[in-house]
Symmetry: C2
Subunit: 114 residues, 2 copies
């Protein structure tokens, strides 16, 4: 298998985050583990639909799962978000200030020292 530097994982992570339902599920999981039923409750959506969202999150590595009685618990695993944040951080210079000004500065011809 070729090492793509984690690019493939970023596809899955950013893809997972592109859906508001999944982002809401992750937000909920910050409060702690939850059953599928509990996670589905806030949404006007069938249980199988939520199950599929959970599978997407699991495939992106954003949740892990365990059992309690007949229920299945989802747990937040934020590690992949760190990689995503790392990718974004490489653009920090371009948003942290007027980038136009910065670019102009860098592109400017060298000035005479007074």
């Amino acid at each position: 298998m070729v090492d793509d530097g984690g690019e493939a994982r970023l596809d899955a992570v950013f893809g997972a985050l592109a859906d508001p339902t999944r982002r809401a599920i992750l937000r909920r999981l910050k409060e702690g583990e939850a059953t599928v039923a509990a996670l589905a409750a806030p949404f006007a959506m069938s249980q199988p639909a939520v199950s599929r969202h959970l599978r997407v999150l699991e495939e992106a590595g954003l949740i892990t799962r365990s059992r309690r009685a007949t229920a299945r618990l989802s747990h937040l695993d934020a590690a992949p978000l760190r990689a995503a944040a790392g990718w974004l951080a490489e653009y920090r210079d371009y948003w942290s200030e007027s980038h136009d000004r910065l670019a102009a500065l860098l592109a400017a011809p060298p000035t005479d020292r007074p």
Copy 2:
């Protein structure tokens, strides 16, 4: 129009970032503005395909466009990435250390002070 707190924008931004071609285009644009042809060159993909990727990036607010002669230049606009990074930052506590340990600590019954 209802204010969703920028959630709709996040859909578009994370969705745009989910594609490796588009991430590569953004990376290229850190070096400065570029024509469609220049952006398309590295990819084994037709020019219209790249044009569509650029439209997705534009709709997500990640690039702006201008003209030079018959060519159209794309410019990076990283501002939406700031919002995405802001969303991710709310999960920093959950990745910055073994969250399991942290959670266990918080959930632990108070211990006697020695």
